[in-house]
């Protein structure tokens, strides 16, 4: 196909998607799947020349039975629409992923984007019950189902969740919902120092019975940006019945000087990543959170560029965004961070790394297997080629 940017294809139905895939495959072309387009590249560009396939018109709740705590939605439905539909019944889809609520549910699942509540309420893989998708051969697959427990057949739902569209264009989803907590409070605690005492206190909350809905360590620059204060903060969300939250609040207040915030702080944090930023994600065993936190807590700037960092305590996942000036090369801007992270990423020697699984039976990654999976679902490389490179 030529280098010229072809006009976008606007799918109005799943069969339009089937037609677009067949057409692209026939021409030896490629498609770049687009939801609301709020986070298109995510630093992962698709091969040049891929035709945008816009699925944002596949929109709306198709079935919602509050008594079952499940909902069926078309993939182009925005998170805000899902939130509005479920709020009426005091329920929610607890994904609450990083990004803006104008993003689509399809993209959230395709990228397996989690958010601050994922440690307590589940990752995308834990919350998707069924998925309809069109694979790279133009086959319409209806995986999983509507019910909350299902082991019938091989798990194609987990397969497309987080595959970044490379195994199929998701057109429709069935999701598990939760009741919104009766009481929902947000507190921030200033973290001046992360010495052993502070770590032990925070660990007591992290590992104790009063599991917060979210506990996010926020560095100084991001804390300032969010109006939480000038020092690094622990932002905590408590949810449950009144007695539970009262006890959890006491555990939070014991950490240090705390301030209460409106729940909108979470939407602000989720959307804090600016349009022009270079973002890295680091993930390690949760017990090593202090290492990750210390590396970012007061490094609010990288030269002239601001650096926003936050860390999900329960999952040990750190996100670092270097804000870019126009003309900055996004890859170079984050280089310093990547180097400083290397020490954190290195695995300590496990007690029994191989056990009796000896060198002769060396464990490979699963790259070859992943390639075979890709070929089985998208043999011609039609769907988002290059995005996972």
């Amino acid at each position: 196909m030529t280098g010229a940017t072809a006009a976008a294809i606007h799918a109005a139905s799943a069969s339009d998607v089937v037609a677009a895939v067949h057409d692209a495959a026939g021409r030896g072309g490629a498609l770049r799947i687009v939801g609301a387009g709020t986070w298109l590249d995510a630093g992962r560009p698709v091969r040049a020349g891929a035709v945008p396939l816009d699925i944002s018109a596949l929109r709306g709740v198709t079935e919602y039975n509050p008594g079952d705590l499940t909902i069926a939605v078309r993939a182009g439905t925005t998170l805000a629409e899902v939130d509005a539909a479920t709020a009426e019944h005091r329920q929610w889809c607890p994904l609450l992923p990083w990004g803006r609520d104008g993003g689509t549910i399809g993209a959230t699942i395709a990228t397996a984007t989690a958010g601050p509540c994922a440690g307590a309420l589940g990752l995308p893989r834990d919350l998707v019950l069924g998925a309809e998708f069109v694979d790279g051969r133009g086959s319409m697959v209806r995986a999983g189902g509507r019910v909350v427990k299902n082991v019938a057949g091989f798990d194609l739902v987990r397969l497309v969740t987080g595959a970044w569209g490379t195994l199929g264009v998701i057109t429709h989803l069935n999701l598990r919902l939760r009741a919104r907590p009766a009481v929902d409070e947000t507190w921030s605690v200033a973290v001046e120092r992360l010495d052993d005492t502070a770590v032990a206190r925070i660990d007591a909350l992290r590992l104790g019975p009063y599991l917060p809905l979210a506990a996010e360590f926020v560095n100084d620059a991001l804390a300032r940006h969010l109006g939480l204060g000038d020092t690094p903060q622990l932002l905590v969300r408590l949810g449950g019945n009144a007695h539970f939250v009262a006890a959890a609040r006491a555990a939070v207040l014991a950490l240090g000087s705390a301030a209460e915030h409106p729940g909108t702080a979470w939407a602000s944090l989720r959307a804090a990543e600016p349009a022009r930023a270079s973002t890295w994600r680091e993930s390690g065993a949760p017990s090593r959170w202090p290492l990750l936190a210390r590396s970012v807590m007061r490094r609010g700037a990288d030269g002239s560029r601001a650096v926003h960092a936050h860390l999900s305590l329960a999952r040990g996942v750190l996100r670092v965004s270097t804000l870019l000036d126009t003309g900055d090369d996004p890859l170079r801007a984050g280089a310093a961070w990547r180097t400083s992270m290397r020490c954190v990423r290195e695995r300590p020697a496990a007690d029994d790394a191989g056990g009796d699984l000896t060198g002769a039976h060396r464990v490979a990654g699963a790259d070859a297997l992943a390639r075979r999976v890709r070929e089985a679902f998208d043999p011609n490389g039609v769907l988002n080629p290059g995005i996972l490179a």
């Binding site: 589940g122 697959v141 019910v147 194609l156 009741a179 006890a247 464990v363 089985a376 679902f377």
Partner: protein, 482 residues
Amino acid sequence: MTALAPAASSALAASLAAIAGDRHVLRDASSLLVFEADGLPGHRAHPLLAVLPGSRDEVVAVVRTLAAAGVRFVARGAGTGLSGGALADGVVLVGLNRLRRIVAVDAANRTATVEPGVVNASLSRAVLPLGLHYAPDPSSQAACTIGGNVAENAGGPHCLKAGVTLNHVLAATVVLPDGEVVALGSADGEAEGYDLLGAFVGSEGCFGIALDVTVRLMPNPERIITQLADFTSVDDAARATSAIIAAGILPAALELMDNATIEAVEASVYAAGYPRDAAAVLLVEADGAAAGLDDDARAIDAICRANGARDVRTATDAADRARLWQGRKKAFGAMGRLSPHLVVQDAVVPRTKLAELLAAIAEIGARHRVRVCNVFHAGDGNLHPNIPYDATDPDESARVDAATRDIMRRCIDAGGTITGEHGVGTDKLGYMEALFTAPTLDAMCRLRDAFDPARRANPGKVVPVHSCREWTGAAAWRAARE
């Protein structure tokens, strides 16, 4: 692939014995007897031979030997599976029971890495001193293995709040059927890329053999409140279940037992003190942090009474709780006393349709003159309509089959699924086409082929062979050539 000639089979046995030792390769009919059936009644299959490797290295060597010989195989844990998944018909059976080492426990991150033959309950026992447990608790937990749990994506009463096996597995080392060893998922931070671990969980032994599994451990709850609600109608109990869920309360467990089950339990050594004249009881457990737990328990009590419960009683102490649970956990055993065989199905329906489905099941049972005992994970909508029968009686067997088919049909029509935790195996192959479209089944075959292109692992299970387009094509091609 046809059956091995006797000479080839002896040569294979010799190679396997060189790996696992003579004692651990079984060929004669009497030693293979224990491997002829699993928990699915009325089905038997004769393995070609059984090999029982003693280490992960030996498993890899065994699988590579089988790959080199182009021989098909079936992995087997404890053989408690209820869908025939571990049945090995003329192929090699790889028994994993000897791999029962807990490789590592990471208390700080609450994970454990275990070999596949570790028995579910023994893992929780081992981490008890750390105040932790492994949450998925199939009723067979005293016998079933973590490898089998992963292969079936097993559930259990406490999976309502805690989630099923899938939600508790962080990583696995897997030997693919061609002998390649791959690491799926990540125990040290979250992995990027395809969720191949998610695809492996629940693959029923068709995607390779798990050599070790890293699971999440959960803290033991500060407090547990166990309640038994007593109903004079099954319908009321089902409605109370839906109402509890709809009210946004997420109990740790919410199990329903009907009168037929109560009778079976109370007449057995597992008698739990259930009210024998109740049409149904709900066993509801709330657990977690102490603060606020009483509020949940009070709300559960109120909803049960509002939906017609005669009485709701709370377990007075740990012994009382254990007794209430024993009846539930041993219900299958108790039913076993009623007749020689027991059909155990596990279809799932939307939770708001429980009352409707239980009425339909009662009607179907009456129509086919079979006795249905319902004991199930009500909070998940995961039915277990169990039918005690005598498999040697052809008339009764035919009626049981017909009733099972009708129940499945109703569950599918209600927007449900055919299995919530026991797997498809061989038992539910016949329903797959009613549940999934042809392109969906074909996609499942393609996924299997990515893991096992030669289709040698647990052949013939999960997806009907004729649903795999390319395979069907190959068969047609071969037929045309002959």
